[in-house]
Amino acid sequence: MSELSDNAKQTIAEHLPRYPSKQAVTLPALHVVQQERGCVSNKAMEEIAAILELSPAQIHDTASFYGFFRTEDNPLGQKRIWVCRSLPCMLRGGEELLAALCEKYGIAPGETTPDGKLTIELAECLGACDGAPCILLEDELHLRCSLEDVERIANEPSPPTRKV
């Protein structure tokens, strides 16, 4: 059975005409797979490589460079929250926020709660220093966050969620 969903295959196909090389579709392909599955499995990498006419090692090389993509033995939880700890956020409590959140959920940055609901990450400057301390939920910034704000965001039942 194919590891890539029809949606993933279609996204890849749509991106191909945009670039003069197939390899350039690597990041778009990795994004769509991780968004759906919470990780990019070895099998998914092989299938992406086949479509892009690359070796699976080339896909792995790129995927592993960006701390963003997860392997199948370390998948994301349903929600991924990044807490910024770079200087402007640190000056306004970013590191305390990250530490408090990790303590609250009993996990270290990069880990996922045992129920698979929440992954907490540390982030470098998210480009929202005017709203320090800030967090990123998937790809949406939330500015001026207290611990209560982040907990509320973490507990909201709404999407985005992944099939994990």
């Binding site: 350039a24 990041l27 892009l52 200087l87 640190m90 982030a123 470098e124 400057c125 790809d139 910034l141």
Partner: protein
Amino acid sequence: MSQTEFKPVLLGRVGRPDSQSLASYRADGGYEALAKALKMANTEVIDVVKNSGLRGRGGAGFPTGLKWTFLPKDVNGPIYLCINGDESEPGTFNNRVLIEEDPHQVLEGIVISSFATRSTTAYFYLRYEYGRCYRTLQKAVDEMYANNLLGKNILGSGYDLDIYLHRGACAYICGEETGLIESLEGKRAWPRIKPPFPAIEGAFRRPTVVNNVETMACIPHILKHGTEWFQSMGIPKDPNNPRDAGSYGPKLYCISGHVNKPGLVELPMGITARDLIDKHGGGVWKGRQAKAVIPGGLSMGFMTNAELDTPLDFNGPGRVGCLGLGTAAVVVIDDHTSMVDVLYNACRFFAHESCGQCTPCREGTAWSTKILERIRDGRGKLSDIDLLLEIANSIGTIPGTTICGLADGAAWPIKTGINKFRGEFEEYIKSGRRSQSHALAGAH
């Protein structure tokens, strides 16, 4: 033009109802500059941009029109324009606001610049974290295709252009222009050895121009209002310095850290850091004083309180020992903050973001972080201070030891932090104090 009578240009439409839509942009005169440019020869457009004195807003301040002239004259096959929307320099958020609030202004600049550089494809490299920007831009691009502002025969001119959005994956080094190109090509974002420069061999080994988002936003206004108008703002060329290209035009200043009103303001280039903080940032918070201020993103290093009357133009920060204006992201650090904690945070950032290709950068950023960790843990030695300086003075010389400017950027917070605040580091080490800051141990 004085600071008081200045009316925002780049942020002029922020807060207008529906400021993101094509209809409202057009109602405000949007895409008139494009129509004008398309009736000119592409070289004439380059001349206008060159004569305006516009310098790139992405950090290096390279003259934009001049960069465009580095493209080879006779090119068979495609030329690419890459828009640098990776914006990750700590303190910097102007690209985000420009895109979220007024995407068409940026996009009009891109179409004009693509036309000028003879590009028929523009790749907009956008950091992944800017999801809202991505969706705003995609909507705006769709509107453009539907209204003959993109695609074939734009506005009946015979000129064709496609713009594609390309999302990054959370790595600072993708902002370095050749790291961006490698990342766009689907590889790890390892900056390339230069030369060849992108103008000769860039994306997909083709001639390429890389420009920042704010640089693009300036372009329509220059076409519309002319070079004299642009030069009526800012700081003119230094007559005693034949190499100075001047600091013209409006500039976005990001204010963050310990101020009452963090935010984005637009002013003619050259406001002093003190005026920026007091008049536009609401002053230092909690009635405190500024101890140190970063003039333009973390890689620029620190100014002291006594240096705050420095004008924030392309030359000002350099005169007080900082690297330069950088991204004009001003970060204010109050007098209750430990410079040891601040420098640790800076070093850890660069260690985390070094791509690891060059030994001086990879090792130097990692060791400076470890030394500061030791100092923060109460186990520092006085000799560590000079060791840090030695690292800073050795890691970042281009050309020479490293491939890109990240290492140089990593060195400036150390150099300026230690040279300007040495007493505080000595006192900290002698006291054997341990840091109060909550940085998670081992969380690199």
